[in-house]
Amino acid sequence: MTEQQALYKYSLRLGDNALILSARLSEWCSNAPFLEEDLAVTNMALDLIGRAQAMLKYAGEVDGNSKTEDDLAYRRGERDYYNNLIMELPNGDFAYTMVRQLFVSTFELFFYEELQKSTDATLAAIAAKTLKEVKYHHLHAKDWVIRLGDGTEESNRRVQQAVNQLWMYTGELFEMDGTDALLMKDGIAVNAEHLKMGWIQMVTQILALANIELPADGYMQSGSRMGIHTEHLGHILSEMQYLQRAYPDATW
């Protein structure tokens, strides 16, 4: 693997994470518990779309095969997608979506804080922009998890259930492979393993305020770094890519 190939894959991975989570959050549009939350989830989805666009555009430039961000989003099969599995899981109930938002945005707080120091100027610039938006997403998710966890018996039970079910998907956020190792040598990529301690501390603190117990560390799901996904990604893509597959090069 050359550094160029690694950078392509790294940018794809970051773009795919944003794109797929954005697709999931968008599903709440008109289905959220109330109007203000409808605005909130779709606003966060919009930030993620913007980030996906910037990352995939850059991936296309690095690749050099004149692929646009749209080509990369609409014309790759699931085995060529590298988003973490947690992003593609169905939304579940509102508590489940907010717990995922908490896990992901807390990770992103730490991750983009580091990536803005990347020696790659484009990644650093996108990261600095992203970090501002992620802080707001994190604040929102944190408030909800505490409010629901520290709420009624029912809401507490649902948050606890979501935490228990999602926990096995958090290990993958900190995984690293040859792509990361190669890019880290030149200070391009972030050492994700180093972020784990800070993440655990922050999440533990928030869950404690929400009267939620931290699950025991057990089996962690894995696979996305190799393009291996849950059955759910294919369904997202079939819907998202329908038009470009049925009518290639369609414009309007």
Binding site: N43, G50, Q53, A125, K129
Partner: protein, 163 residues
């Protein structure tokens, strides 16, 4: 090769006539979205930066810049988007903040660089001036705004978030 008939000042004056598509009371210069104008041998380049990465107005702003300059004979023009340095509400001019206020949108208080101030601020009602307001929703009708309600005059209003 383009014989440069326009200088930077003239181009900026033209750009100042382009309103922000989402908040038409301010223009794109006052919003701090125009980073630079570069006059080269083969044309003009306008460098812009988005407010939020997913800001849907960027496409329209790009088109507006091109068509407005073209109509004035500033051709050929390209528009380039940069992310660095990231846009902040600190770049909004005082004039723009005053215009927002008069339009009924509470202007941003300060920079989001100050993390503790990201939320739970005292926002003054742009209609009656009361400080007795509360947050209704952190997210509003566009990425850049939050929703508040005034407890004095009871009117809901938008607040331009610090960013």
């Amino acid at each position: 090769m383009v014989v440069s008939r326009f200088d930077k000042e003239q181009i900026l004056d033209i750009l100042a006539t382009i309103p922000d598509p989402e908040i038409p009371v301010v223009n794109i210069l006052e919003m701090g979205m125009v980073k630079d104008v570069v006059i080269g041998d083969d044309g003009y380049e306008v460098i812009i930066t988005p407010t939020y990465s997913g800001c849907p107005a960027v496409g329209m702003i790009t088109a507006d810049i091109r068509s407005t300059l073209e109509a004035k004979g500033v051709v050929p023009t390209t528009v380039r988007m940069v992310y660095d340095p990231a846009w902040t509400t600190d770049w909004m001019t005082d004039v723009a903040k005053k215009k927002l206020h008069d339009y009924g949108i509470a202007p941003p208080l300060h920079s989001s660089c100050n993390d503790e101030m990201l939320d739970n601020n005292t926002i003054t009602c742009p209609r009656c001036g009361s400080e007795r307001t509360h947050l209704l929703s952190r997210f509003g009708s566009t990425a850049c705004k939050a929703l508040y309600k005034c407890d004095a005059c009871l009117e809901p209003f938008e607040y331009f978030k610090c960013h």
